[in-house]
Symmetry: C2
Subunit: 435 residues, 2 copies
């Protein structure tokens, strides 16, 4: 794990090192003093407790999670843009409209409470109510989230009983159990924590995520929860989250599908004692933003690495685009191309599919200026010059982690995007899931 | 094969027959007297000859095709929107800028002449020149097209020799050989012909197509050529082709990738003796348009049925959308969803994935009003009411051809879209193609 990684230089062609393309993981030209990874997850920051238990939605695995701040915390949330929104997404949106200060998050896995109509809404509110009463906080201080099968009603009695039980298990060491309790088809638990110095005060940030397909078959997707003991005003937290989510969760793709239940939430409770900040600018904000982006990019990459049937992790760097938006557009088209993803699966240096994907991305560029690299090996040079050793390309493509760099030579825009290959196993998992 | 198929009624829910959703195959409320399928393809209309030979681009299969009109014919062409455009696409665009009356089309398969820079342009012009000289027509009367591997130079000497040879084989019975010569990874030859009455005159239309993946690995995609002995002014022909291509080739998807070489061309030579028409309106135009749409939809469906690794043909009908554009958007999102395509591959009645795809399509709708049918079996009714027999659904999904209807209940817009399932074989074909 890098500390602060240097931003991808604009238009630069890969040189000596294969790892120079860290890919926009941190705001430009920013270094953050003492940023480092620490063990743990959501309960690493001061003043947070969590629990993850089995209550009975799933057969035997943990399926209910509580995250609680000892004091009221600023909250920011990003929700799915899918028009079909699960009941907990609608309830959380309503809660966020009422307040920006929260105490708790309650999450169940195994059932998404999506496409469940009025009864689904009642059930989501019942989860909020049960958590508020078990934790002795206000109903308007609880956020709710669900993930799992679409179109089935929650076993709400089981869940509200589970919430009471989970409250008894809350602990500052409960992060790991909580991270386990939000998983569905995930093959590993996704946690990350980091700390940094802030005018002499240690500030900590912890996170957990779940997801292994944009919609794992009927299983709703991508959740991420982040806690921090920094003191951040809600509006500033929202601004940082929007920007960081745009450069992390909005830059990954497993299969291009967007779920009905996606949610990223951040709670900031100020318990570190670090100086509060209230403006989305200045060195304090930029330092906090850098840490948050590092957190979300790390969690995003974990989700891609757990992509259904994935055998390879692919980082796509587009440089020299007219602007950042164009770079993202081109990178997304490459990342979503089944033909590119199957070629990588087959370890085939198929640059034609990459160039064709940029061609239909809607980005304006001159194809004859494009250069493509696998790792630091040039595959395509200007004027369609192809001059690479198949052997060298094969060596790069045989690795578990592959970096593809596309230089458009049109301007200064660059972006990174993360995806995985498309394997026969993906088809097998998704064709046979329900049956 | 149907004659004129009735247009999908707006907002109607499937009833007694499973085949009622013929899906926008013909302009609304139009019936065309005596429209019927006839044997043959590109040389079915009067005054067209064709040849398809093996010249040596491929190892042993036919790889060079000529289509010639005995007299100058009106021409209309639709070309790929990919920013990366093969040399023959650029040359054809230049030719069409100069004239709208053509005599011949020359096509090679096995090599796309794409991403080949200046030398590629010279080679494409050399093909035009060789055809003009072999056929004794003007250089500005020849269209050119290529399909096959990207990024390799044409064996241009082999091809120009081949063009001379092919000219000697031109025949009014050459349609079948020509259709074979434009294929690449296709598993069957795609030809279609039809005739209709026009104030007592028999008018004929013939067509051929190739394609079995939007970009079959490095192999450039989708070509279609149509001939007719109707007399149609170039501007009118262009207007009809744009509209019909939009409702056929722009409504199919195998893997969502758009090729560098896509081309649809129509030649109309007037040899039927039927009355010419010069306006894109009125009953003559509408009749001609209906025939052209029927031709292109039939060729489009053939391409989908030959989708790489496809085991099922899927027709997606979206009805009750706010307008036709919204219906197309929703249908395209369903058709391009890997999760929907793998579910159909697994014969799983997974309506949640279909609804979620509409949800992220960008179309405005109320999810609780949506109804989904497989064939004529309702799967999802209003207010998320799920009440279907898994057995009945399974029976429908076990067929080779599956119709999915999604009623949004928002307005009068409807559209059909055609796609295929996503199988392990697709991945195998595309992962292992080059190696």
């Amino acid at each position: 794990m890098n500390n602060v990684t240097e931003h991808n230089r604009k238009g630069v062609i890969p040189g000596g090192s294969e790892q120079i393309h860290s890919g926009g993981a941190v705001a430009d030209h920013l270094t953050l003093p003492g940023l480092k990874e620490i063990p743990g997850g959501i309960t690493a920051p001061k003043g947070f407790r969590a629990a993850g238990i089995h209550c009975g939605v799933k057969k035997s695995k943990r399926d209910l999670c509580l995250v609680v701040s000892d004091v009221p915390a600023s909250a920011a949330v990003v929700l799915t843009t899918n028009r079909v929104q699960a009941a907990p997404v609608l309830v959380t949106r309503e809660q966020m409209g009422r307040s920006r200060v929260f105490r708790a998050i309650v999450v169940n896995s195994g059932n998404a409470n999506a496409c469940t109509g009025d009864r689904g809404m009642e059930d989501a509110w019942a989860m909020v109510g049960a958590a508020a009463s078990a934790l002795n906080v206000g109903r308007d201080e609880v956020l709710v989230s669900s993930t799992g099968v679409i179109g089935q009603f929650l076993p709400i009695g089981t869940i509200t009983e589970g919430i009471k039980k989970a409250a008894a298990f809350l602990s500052p060491e409960g992060g790991g159990a909580a991270a386990e309790a939000i998983t569905t088809t995930d093959t590993f638990v996704k946690e990350h924590a980091l700390e940094f110095d802030w005018d002499g005060t240690r500030v900590t940030m912890g996170g957990m995520a779940k997801g292994s397909g944009m919609i794992a078959p009927n299983m709703a997707t991508m959740l991420a929860f982040v806690t921090t003991d920094a003191a951040v005003a809600p509006a500033v937290l929202h601004s940082a989250l929007s920007r960081a989510a745009d450069r992390s969760f909005n830059r990954i793709s497993v299969d291009g599908d967007t779920s009905t239940n996606d949610m990223v939430a951040v709670l900031a409770n100020g318990e570190s004692g670090a100086e509060p900040f209230t403006e989305a600018a200045g060195p304090h904000y930029e330092a906090f933003y850098a840490a948050l982006e590092e957190m979300l990019v790390t969690l995003s990459k974990m989700i891609v690495k757990d992509g259904e049937g994935a055998t390879k992790f692919i980082e796509i760097n587009v440089t020299g685009a007219a602007d950042e938006a164009s770079a993202v557009k081109a990178a997304r088209a490459i990342a979503n191309s089944n033909l590119v993803k199957t070629a990588i699966n087959g370890e085939d240096a198929n640059w034609g599919r990459i160039l064709a994907a940029v061609g239909y991305s809607g980005v304006d560029f001159d194809p004859s200026k494009v250069e493509i690299f696998f790792g630091n090996v040039p595959i395509l040079r200007r004027n369609y010059t192809i001059d690479f050793s198949e052997e060298e390309a094969k060596k790069i493509l045989s690795r578990k982690e592959i970096t593809i760099t596309v230089c458009l030579h049109e301007g200064e825009g660059s972006a990174s995007f993360w995806t995985c290959d498309l394997s026969k196993e993906y088809v097998a998992i998704n064709a046979n899931y329900r049956t």
